[in-house]
């Protein structure tokens, strides 16, 4: 995907009020927005962020929880081109659309009322089971939920490499430390390692604090060609390179997950993204890793070459991925402590860090940010660069 390197930039970002909406949902207040309502608010904020008129938008990509037509109808958008996808794949699609000339100014819109709607991620009505058979195929044994699949991976990892539960807890604690510096994060109360170790198991060895939040919200991003973005203003952040590699063979049997930890796909995508950006892991100032579960961080760090296989425990130890650490990871608090916007809020956080707009949690002199995602072995990655 070398042709997509450095051609497209994010110029506008918008998010909804995660902490406020989560508190309202906990208090059982009647919901005031649904998925579309959250998407609309995020979209308005993204337009405002980059001072763009909605009639400049000629492309629309929606997240998996929204219908494209209804989203465009709701926002009053007729466009030249539409698409649908998860966060990083939507950014990749936007770059492809810009490269091909299909569209020139693209809105990426996500909204999800998963908490107030009562979305289930395990059991008979497990969300995503229509796309990933393993999420409900093993129901007769009571084997369900994405969390259980990551629990199996984590257990095997611990047995093979000697990682302890205390060492695993570093991820959740580091991300909570970041969330405490993010006024919009859902989980801002402090959490130390002892509190982590005293929290309950869901699927052992994963505890509730290894699981992502289930909260309502929306995210929007505005993408245009980097050339146009430079003329438009100072707040653009360039997408330096993409990488992708999808494992499907033996997916339901869990072989690529449990035997390979998805590393073959990580390595293929890493090779693409680093070669096309002309940088390596050592050049990254911070990283965002898709973290529906804490253990994603271990597998991505090893697969993308940040450390040797089996050495992630050392890599993350003693605050090295937390605030002020060697490689800060999930600097908004991530899906564990900021908001579970299925990879979308990670993109906003990268843009904020590279614009030097991240407040108390700002990574000093941040020029490069790396996003890594491996949802069910569909590995997708993007490196962002501060606009020169």
């Amino acid at each position: 995907m070398a042709q997509l390197s450095g051609i497209a930039s994010v110029v506008g970002v918008g998010e909804t009020d995660y902490a406020i909406d989560y508190a309202a949902a906990r208090e059982k207040k009647p919901p005031t927005r649904d998925s579309y309502g959250y998407a609309a608010l995020a979209f308005k904020r993204a337009l405002h962020d980059c001072s763009i008129n909605k009639y400049d938008i000629d492309g629309l990509i929606v997240g998996p929880t929204l219908a494209a037509e209804r989203t465009g109808e709701m926002l009053g958008l007729n466009v030249r081109w539409m698409g649908q996808g998860d966060a990083v794949n939507s950014l990749m699609s936007a770059a492809m659309a810009i490269h091909s000339g299909a569209a020139s100014c693209i809105a990426l819109v996500y909204g999800n009322n998963q908490r107030t709607r009562g979305t289930q991620y395990g059991g008979a009505q497990a969300d995503g089971g229509d796309r990933y058979l393993a999420y409900h195929y093993y129901a007769p044994w009571g084997m369900t939920s994405q969390g259980a699949l990551y629990a199996l991976m984590t257990q095997r990892y611990m047995s093979l490499h000697g990682l302890t539960e205390r060492e695993l807890g570093e991820i959740a604690v580091s991300q909570r430390n970041f969330a405490q510096m993010n006024p919009n994060a859902v989980m801002r109360q402090s959490m130390n390692i002892e509190q982590y170790l005293n929290s309950k198991y869901i699927c052992e060895p994963l505890r509730i604090n290894d699981y992502c939040l289930v909260n309502d919200g929306g995210v929007a991003l505005i993408v245009m060609s980097s050339e146009r973005a430079k003329k438009h203003g100072k707040n653009a952040v360039s997408m330096a390179a993409f990488g992708r590699s999808d494992i499907n063979m033996d997916a339901t049997s869990l072989k690529p997950r449990l035997v390979d930890f998805y590393h073959s796909a990580h390595q293929a995508a890493a090779s693409d993204v680093f070669n096309n950006a002309g940088v390596g892991p050592q050049d990254m100032d911070f990283a965002q890793i898709y973290d529906s579960f804490s253990a994603h961080v271990l597998f991505a760090l090893e697969g993308f070459g940040y450390c040797e296989i089996g050495k992630a425990g050392e890599f993350i130890a003693n605050g090295k991925i937390g605030p002020g650490g060697k490689l800060p990871i999930n600097t908004s608090g991530g899906h564990l402590s900021d908001s579970y916007m299925q990879g979308w809020n990670h993109q906003v956080e990268i843009v904020r860090q590279l614009r030097n707009q991240a407040g108390a949690r700002q990574v000093k002199n941040a020029s490069w940010g790396h996003y890594m995602s491996d949802i069910a072995g569909k590995v997708a990655t993007v490196i962002f660069r501060k606009e020169q």
């Binding site: 008979a124 093993y138 007769p140 939920s145 259980a148 199996l152 257990q155 869901i202 699927c203 049997s253």
Partner: protein
Amino acid sequence: MVEPTMNRPNPYPGLLEEPFWEAVDQRNLSLQNCKSCDHVWYPPGPVCPECLSEDWQFKPVSGYGKVIAWTVFHRQYFPELPTPYTIVSVEIDEGPLLIGGYCETNSKNLEVGMRVKVSYEQATSKLKDSWTIYNWVPA
């Protein structure tokens, strides 16, 4: 030990799931085996995922394998299945990975690579009065 007869969620429905579960009912766990290239695969599918041949058969497997990973469920997801319970992933000697329950709630005696063998158990569900499911016990 797992209860001798348990109410369980129904198996996933499908044309090719039927012969799979019929073999389990006969206590003769069988997987699809390609007559063209000898590949063995799971879960069931319409063609050999290696050579795309439709010329395959359900063939009994040895019922032995080694533990790949396990997890203990503490959160209850199905009303029929009280927690805690242990789930194991087993690489059978023929290659594919299968899921199943482990005979003990306690996972303390499990080890990666440990030899296990298949064990059959009578079950009921909302749709069926009596059917058979398989689990794993130390070999």
